[in-house]
């Protein structure tokens, strides 16, 4: 491939485009041509550099200089100064520290990036960028030097476990599928990432699609499959587009299709889009959906390794699992196994959300404690408020209070604590969070996403939600907690698939860890965190209120009355407890009780 002394990445996010990024980019190309620099300097389009507000913007590598506010007219000057004379132009330079990627910033302390190593570093739409980062070297090694059994052995020895959340040994899974009678065999990549607030897989697909494709091809070789599906949710249009582009580029280079790299191994990949059902992340429902059927799970056994898509042996792994494979092959099982704990090896990506200073994507070695993640990686709780709970494992996970903060993040410890690894959603909550309300939120999600096939999940989750709603509305009755516990247990036990079996987990874990909050709602008709609208009321304090009328003017239902410079009053019968008055008051005069 051609060698460039410098790479210029121009941001083409909508905001930058609106500010003329395309015109600037064209001018830059023209100027480099006219200066005879076009063979030395490559111009690429990128996104999410992070300062679109000051756009158009660009990054110049290898120096890592970030220029903002560059217009088409500035280009001749900039090219002359920077690329001919080699001088940084301070007029446009913006400090690199200010670069903010809301999803994925620079690696924070204690982070180790394996899966995310290329995200934001390479151009995902250019296969050569990936190849330059040792891309497809693992595939070459596998096809050239390794027997399928050796590949499986390497993956097994690495200790890699399913990153979709269940944590089954990837090597063993591959072995089962390889041993299954029946041809053809299929490879599926589960990219139906549906947990609320989770976007680990999307970033990998958008930022480093080839790592997933390479992992799938290696899996195909190890198992003896010649066809793979990526099942990606339709809500990720950019991921779908990037994947399809990556597949085309890989085919053009002979890395996909007939006789890969000139060997007699052939493998190709097709992207299938989901239609918006969370339950299609469950592997049997996903397979039904690929086959064009209603996305409903079916009982296992038979497992997909024996009877999967089109009734044939099928191996299904998560995006993150596949993205780990090339690294394991290249650097060896021992390298991978050197990270993590005895039973949980390697790293895990998490999407951190909630009340912490640094939300977004992180990748940490397994075995790190929750405390380290929350305080060291995520920068601690916002406004130095007290930590209350962390919800880990997605909508089927659990809420863990402070006493679990020193718990290690690995499959076994989280399960023992009443949560689960899940696919990587992690929501951190401060003391202004009502745990009954949180349980209600997750229950609302899962009951809406139930496919409706089995009775406990279809009707049971709705009944649980109704009880939680009553409790949040202050209509809870003595005995409700026991009823909830019993119904949750029945739904967990008797549901068909993981969705129903896991759906009550947020309720069960909050009942276990925060029972007193439920009791306060039911017996005292009080929401301790002051969240549940029907259990709180707003009032204006006489001392601090200056009669500025801001609250009255902002109240959406005109519940506030009062003369200018006199105490204002909220009419509780009209008030809808939206909290806007509290937000707009400059004198902290609005109290919640």
């Amino acid at each position: 491939m051609a060698f460039f002394r410098s790479h210029v990445l121009v941001c083409v996010d909508p905001e930058c485009l609106a500010k003329g990024a395309h015109a600037m980019l064209d001018a830059l190309q023209d100027e480099l041509v006219s200066q005879g620099l076009i063979d030395e300097i490559q111009v690429l389009e990128t996104s999410r550099i992070g300062s679109c507000a000051d756009g158009p913007e660009m990054m110049v590598y290898p120096e890592g200089i970030h220029y903002v506010g560059v217009t088409e007219d500035d280009i001749p000057y900039l090219v002359e100064e920077h690329f001919l004379k080699g001088r940084v132009v301070p007029k446009f330079q913006k400090s690199i520290v200010a670069v903010v990627d809301e999803e994925l910033g620079p690696a924070k302390p204690k982070e180790v990036r394996v899966v995310l190593r290329n995200c934001g570093q390479i151009d995902p739409e250019n296969i050569e960028d990936y190849i330059a980062e040792d891309g497809y070297a693992a595939l070459a090694k596998v096809l050239g030097d390794m027997q399928p059994e050796q590949v499986i052995d390497e993956v097994t020895r690495s200790g890699l476990r399913g990153r979709g959340g269940a944590g089954f040994s990837t090597g063993k899974k591959w072995q089962f599928c390889r041993n299954s009678a029946g041809t053809p065999k299929y490879i599926i990549c589960n990219a139906d990432e549906g947990d609320p607030g989770a976007f680990m897989n999307r970033r990998v697909l958008e930022g480093d699609p080839h790592s997933v494709l390479e992992g799938m091809i290696i899996a195909g070789y190890a198992i003896g499959a010649n066809w793979g599906y990526v099942y990606c949710r339709a809500e990720y249009p950019l991921a779908v587009r990037t994947l399809n582009l990556a597949i085309r580029q890989a085919r053009d280079l002979g890395l996909l299709g007939e006789n890969i790299m000139g060997t007699n191994y052939s493998f190709d990949i097709e992207v299938r889009q989901g239609a918006g059902a969370f339950v299609c992340g469950e592997e049997t429902a996903l397979i039904a959906s690929i086959e064009g059927k209603r996305g409903e799970p079916r009982p296992r056994p038979p497992f997909p390794a024996v009877q999967g898509v089109w009734g044939k042996p099928t191996n299904n792994n998560n995006v993150e699992t596949y993205a780990n494979i090339p690294q394991i092959i290249l650097k060896g099982a021992d390298w991978f196994a050197s990270m993590g704990t005895e039973k949980s090896k390697g790293t895990k990506t998490f999407a951190i959300g909630g009340d912490v200073n640094h939300t977004g994507l992180i990748e940490v070695p397994l075995g790190i404690t929750l405390r380290e993640v929350i305080y060291d990686v995520a920068g601690g709780i916002k406004d130095n408020k007290p930590f209350k709970a962390v919800q880990i494992g997605g909508p089927m996970g659990g809420c863990l209070p402070e006493k679990y903060l020193d718990e290690k993040i690995d499959y076994e410890s989280l399960n023992a604590a009443g949560a689960m690894m899940g696919s990587g959603g992690m929501i951190i909550m401060d003391d202004e969070t009502c745990m009954v309300d949180i349980a209600r939120f997750f229950m609302d999600f899962t009951q809406d996403e139930s496919c409706g096939k089995c009775t406990p999940c279809r009707v049971g989750t709705r009944r649980i939600l109704e009880m939680l709603q009553r409790i949040c509305d202050g209509e809870g009755e003595p005995g409700d907690i026991e009823k909830l516990e019993e119904l949750c247990q029945q739904v967990q036990q008797n549901s068909l698939c993981g969705l129903g079996q896991g759906a009550p987990n947020p309720v069960v874990s909050t009942l276990k860890q925060f029972r007193s909050e439920y009791e306060a709602h039911i017996y005292e008709k009080r929401c301790p965190a002051k969240v549940c609208r029907k259990l709180i009321h707003y009032s204006i304090l006489e001392g601090p209120c200056t009669g500025c009328t801001v609250c009255a003017r902002n109240c959406p239902v005109n519940a506030i009355s009062g003369e200018r410079r006199h105490l204002h009053v909220i009419d509780p019968d009209i008030c809808i407890r939206c909290g806007i008055c509290k937000q707009v008051c400059n004198f902290n005069a609005v109290a919640v009780s």
């Binding site: 009951q447 096939k453 089995c454 009775t455 279809r458 049971g460 029945q490 036990q493 549901s495």
Partner: protein, 372 residues
């Protein structure tokens, strides 16, 4: 063969058998709703959960294949509680508007609800969710308030009839059985065979013609009179009248399947115009010549009293027929005679008609109406 133990009984069954079928073979009843031996297992209602030694959770026996050495328990206090909860959850979505149904005196669902001591009045939904009688189908009555989403109708229509009229719409709590893309049954290519009604365990799908007809005094297993397939059907009889036709699960020819004629076309039996004795034209009986029709009359119309139909006995009717056939053959040749037989005759009768036409009359002009 695979060896398993169910409730302490050692049982040997072929591999691939489900635990539910294995239990049936051993004479052990496991409560089911969505299961039906004629349909693919579904595993949705969860009423058939059993405990399997070593398994983390109870498993649905209808979809669970047997494994060598499997130890299964089908009754325990925990399982009873699970089944009761499942039935209560189903009941919380069930609403009986109080009309007299037309299918069965007691549905399978109601039998299990009563078996587990659940009060229908207390457990059922406070209000209906769907309109009663929501489809204009002329013979099938639809009341989705009684639907428990077992999908037996969906599977019966797809797997047995191959019509794919029913499917599931929506998801989660809002899942409902819909015809086509939420249209009417007939628009969704329904042939009104009533298989969905026959498989429905709750009365959500019912026989419209039999609504309010009550309980039969006798059930007569007979052969359908419509065609040569010879489906076995059960006539439900009350006061010497057929009030409905139901599938006979043991029918060797057709199983639960029937067509619209067999299941719903029984009104001719009691029809006032039904012929019960042979009739001939009066002129034939009297040996007169055929009366001339008046000018301008439509074909077959004749106001002459000799043209009237009169009842007679079989001997007379057959004698006249034989004479006329012989006359036509002798005067105009054998090929002037044509015979059309009926699908409503037995195979034996049709065989004899074939012999009669070809060997007695001497023509190949014979055809048959077996085009149902």
């Amino acid at each position: 063969m695979v060896n398993i133990t169910i409730n302490g009984n050692a049982i040997q069954v072929p591999s691939g058998t489900t635990v539910l079928r294995a239990a049936e073979q051993a004479g052990i009843t496991i409560p089911t709703l969505c299961d039906h031996p004629d349909l693919h297992p579904f595993g949705g209602c969860r009423l058939c959960v059993v405990e399997v030694q070593g398994a983390r959770l109870p498993m649905a026996s209808c979809t669970l294949p047997v494994n060598e050495g499997m130890v299964v328990t089908t009754e325990s206090p925990a399982l009873t509680k699970s089944r009761r909860t499942i039935l209560e959850l189903l009941m919380s979505n069930y609403y009986d508007s109080g009309y007299k149904d037309g299918q069965k005196e007691t549905t399978q669902f109601m039998r299990w609800v009563k078996h587990y001591g659940i009060s229908v009045k207390k457990a059922q939904a406070p209000a209906p969710r769907y309109p009663v009688n929501s489809d204009p189908n002329p013979v099938i009555w639809v009341d989705m308030n009684k639907c428990i989403l077992c999908t037996r109708c969906v599977r019966a229509c797809a797997e047995i009839q191959g019509r794919f009229v029913w499917s599931q719409g929506g998801r989660g709590f809002n899942t409902r059985i819909v015809a086509g893309a939420e249209t009417t049954m007939l628009e969704a290519r329904c042939e009104t065979c009533g298989a969905c009604v026959a498989f429905c365990p709750t009365g959500a799908l019912d026989n419209r013609l039999s609504m309010g007809a009550g309980k039969p005094s006798t059930v007569v297993t007979t052969t359908c009179a419509y065609c040569g397939v010879g489906c076995q059907i059960d006539l439900n009889v009350k006061d010497n009248h057929i009030i409905r036709v139901t599938s006979n699960p043991d029918a060797s020819v057709n199983g639960m399947a029937m067509c619209v004629k067999g299941r719903y076309g029984y009104d001719y039996v009691h029809h006032p115009e039904r012929l019960s004795k042979p009739q001939v034209r009066r002129y034939l009986l009297k040996g007169e010549p055929k009366p001339k029709a008046s000018a301008g009359a439509n074909p077959g119309e004749n106001s002459d009293p000799l043209w009237d139909w009169v009842e007679t006995d079989w001997d007379t009717a057959l004698r006249i027929t034989a004479e006329k056939i012989a006359q036509a053959r002798d005067q105009h040749g054998a090929d002037s005679v044509g015979v059309l037989t009926s699908a409503k005759c037995t195979n034996e009768v049709n065989y004899l008609m074939n012999k009669f036409t070809r060997q007695v009359v001497g023509t190949n002009n014979i055809d048959h109406c077996a085009r149902l």
